[in-house]
């Protein structure tokens, strides 16, 4: 039986093989070769694509360079979502490598947040962690940490250092034994065919009677359409880090082990693969 700690490592080191191509309409001095890269599921596009930018900047004229942005099949990719979430949501049942298009012009102001520097990514990442802690511990644990501890969380992610990150993050995964779990579970459920970017609600991992609630219980409460009836063919897949956890999985366990480094459990609901 796999140790729970192995799960943490598997989640951290998950990778998506990706092929980056330059948008054809962007004029280049020479032919732009595609660039291949293994992207960390748990990181953010603008944090891990310096090599990609460098590669394409060699063939793009300097005056044609504005803020870089990425797109998949016409959809601008939100850099502030974890990479794994973007993949699961948009391309989970397609052939690898994931084909992402790179743009240096015509930044879609109405769709994407700007990302002028890595400190913006850091601010966003830390903001998610704080919000997750507000839900789990009324913000007490993050409040009691020192600034250098916060920095360690960010540096761990930025430099792909599992041990450095988890040395601090384990404190954010603790809870009073008598409670049986966190106050509320930080989660977001994403769906492509919805105007609403995600569903986020207050959800306790333990019922009033002291029972551990499951992924199925969460979906029943906040997204019943994702659950299919017994006699119906499955309409949706419920993905976390590219896999379909059993609906019987306790949500507290999922929150502790399958959350992203931002401490949120990101769940993608996609149409079931048709044969």
């Amino acid at each position: 039986m796999a140790d729970d700690k192995d799960v943490l490592r598997d989640v951290w080191f998950g990778r998506i093989p990706t092929c980056f191509t330059l948008y054809p309409d962007e004029v280049t001095e020479r032919e732009a070769e595609p660039f291949y890269l293994l992207l960390p599921r748990v990181s953010y596009l603008t944090l891990v694509t310096d090599k990609v930018k460098k590669h394409f900047l060699k063939v793009v004229k300097a005056e044609d360079v504005e803020e870089v942005w990425f797109e998949y099949e016409g959809t601008p990719l939100k850099w502030h979502y974890p990479i794994g979430v973007l993949f699961d949501l948009h391309a989970s049942n397609t052939a690898l490598p994931w084909s992402v298009t790179v743009h240096f012009k015509d930044f879609p102001e109405r769709d994407l947040l700007h990302c002028p520097s890595s400190s913006v990514i850091e601010a966003h990442f830390m903001s998610s962690i704080k919000e997750a802690d507000a839900l789990k511990h009324k913000g007490q644990v993050i409040h009691d940490m020192q600034k250098k501890d916060h920095k360690q969380l960010w540096m761990g992610l930025q430099n792909d250092k599992f041990d450095q990150f988890w040395a601090m993050n384990r404190k954010l995964m603790e809870y009073p034994t008598e409670e049986g779990g966190f106050r509320y579970v930080p989660f977001r459920i994403y769906q492509t065919l919805s105007e609403r970017p995600f569903i986020q609600r207050l959800f306790r991992p333990v019922s009033a009677e002291g029972q551990a609630l499951t992924l199925g219980d969460l979906l029943k409460e906040v997204f019943p359409a994702a659950m299919c009836q017994d006699d119906e063919p499955k309409r949706y897949q419920v993905l976390v880090h590219g896999i379909e956890p059993l609906l019987e999985t306790p949500i507290q366990w999922l929150s502790e082990h399958l959350s992203h480094p931002d401490n949120f459990l990101h769940i993608s609901v996609v149409p079931a693969a048709s044969d």
């Binding site: 300097a62 005056e63 939100k78 502030h80 102001e109 109405r110 769709d111 994407l112 947040l113 700007h114 002028p116 601010a123 903001s127 704080k130 919000e131 507000a134 839900l135 913000g139 930080p186 105007e195 609403r196 970017p197 995600f198 986020q200 609600r201 207050l202």
Partner: protein, 222 residues
Amino acid sequence: MSDEKLGNTNCCLDQKTFYLCCQLFLHHSSVLGDGWSWREVKGVEGYMKKTVLVPGRLGSLLSQHGQHKTEEYIDIVTEEDQVDNVDGGTCSVCESQAVVHYEYHVLYSCSYQAPVLYFRASSMDGRPLSLEEVWNNVHPNYRERLLQGPWDTLTQQEHPLLGQPFFMLHPCRTEEFIRPILQMAHSEKRRVNYILAWLSVVGPVVGLDIPLSYSTAVTAPD
């Protein structure tokens, strides 16, 4: 929000009370005709919205080739000044008087159990204003308060219901300024409409005016 809770220093706002405070606020708004409306999501879940056109200042860099570029972090200066562009050449900066379209949304954050103010601004031709331009349109009297207030300045965030970029004042320290208001009211045996109290503090900082008549006309929910 019951009075007993204030003894426990609970300044949390639940979703239902948020809804009730907004409805009372909106009632006076409809009397004034000042443009607030309720956008329902489901049941008591929803947000308040207001759009307004105000005169403002838009800056743009004119490069040597006469092309417009809006830079995020370059100071907007007067027409006479020259600034260096990133290529080491020079270009002029000009500011134009323009009409700015502001959109304000008051949402509820279940994570922080507090209201959150989102807003975006665009020029009349639909171009979204940059953070720099928004900053430049904050009244000088409020810039200090914006810099020093218990919010981590203005940041661009995804609107949680619309999925589009907005600017937001972070709600994690709302308690710092709302607590004294609630405690004072409690000691004077007055009830306070949380949304009105909160919006009176954060609104003016981002150019949102709350007329004085709200303070007497709007009541607190039971």
